[in-house]
């Protein structure tokens, strides 16, 4: 009975792993990885919602009546590309931080900031 919800649990677990990485790790690149895992979990969530039992991909063809819901696909398709763009932006910031501080660990950056003040 409850097993019908397992896709959401997968999503939740993935999401929490990403969340944990973002919170607990000090390394900025690692944080971005965590963020992208989080992102992926959201994608999976949407796509699994779009799924219908016995349906196929939403490309019209003869002799097929049941299609998956195309709307989440569209949303996620664009979200993936936007996700990579934002990830690239984050990485660019990381590179700049590395150049400015010589480190991408959160606590070391903070230490240097404290020294500066």
């Amino acid at each position: 009975m409850l097993l019908g919800l397992y896709n959401y649990w997968v999503v939740v677990v993935l999401m929490m792993v990403g969340f944990y990485i973002v919170i607990a790790h000090g390394n900025l690149v690692k944080k971005i990885v965590g963020l992208s895992i989080f992102q992926t979990s959201v994608f999976i969530f949407y796509i699994s919602m779009a799924n219908i039992d016995g349906a196929t991909a939403p490309i019209l063809a003869d002799g097929i009546e049941k299609y998956s819901n195309p709307l989440p696909h569209v949303l996620i398709l664009t979200a993936i590309v936007v996700g990579i763009a934002t990830t690239a932006l984050g990485l660019a910031l990381t590179v700049r931080i590395k150049e400015a501080y010589g480190s991408i660990e959160e606590d070391e950056i903070q230490k240097q900031d404290n020294l500066d003040c």
Binding site: T56, A57, I59, A61
Partner: protein, 91 residues
């Protein structure tokens, strides 16, 4: 038969994953990733047949290409990096 092949490929994928997790060196991981990519291509083409809509082989083509590109990328950047790394640790 299609389903049997799919299951076999899934099993192999699990093996590749475990190698990539354990993999003592970077190259082991790259190898596992490469293998995983090839198996993904196969899996997608098989799945197309299992689900009865084999028109979508384009994805498999993309995977084959992207897999190649990412392996080359890994080698190109990790390789140089490793060299630099070892220089540093010598100093």
């Amino acid at each position: 038969m299609l389903i049997a092949a799919t299951l076999a490929i899934l099993a192999v994928m699990m093996m590749a994953i475990s190698r990539a997790i354990m993999g003592p060196t970077t190259y082991d991981r790259v190898l596992a990733v490469n293998m995983f990519g090839t198996k993904t291509v196969l899996l997608i083409s098989l799945l197309g047949f299992v689900m009865g809509r084999p028109e979508f082989l384009d994805i498999a083509i993309v995977y084959a290409l992207i897999n190649f590109i990412s392996v080359i990328g890994v080698l190109r950047y990790s390789n140089r990096f490793v060299i630099k790394h070892s220089e540093q640790s010598k100093k």
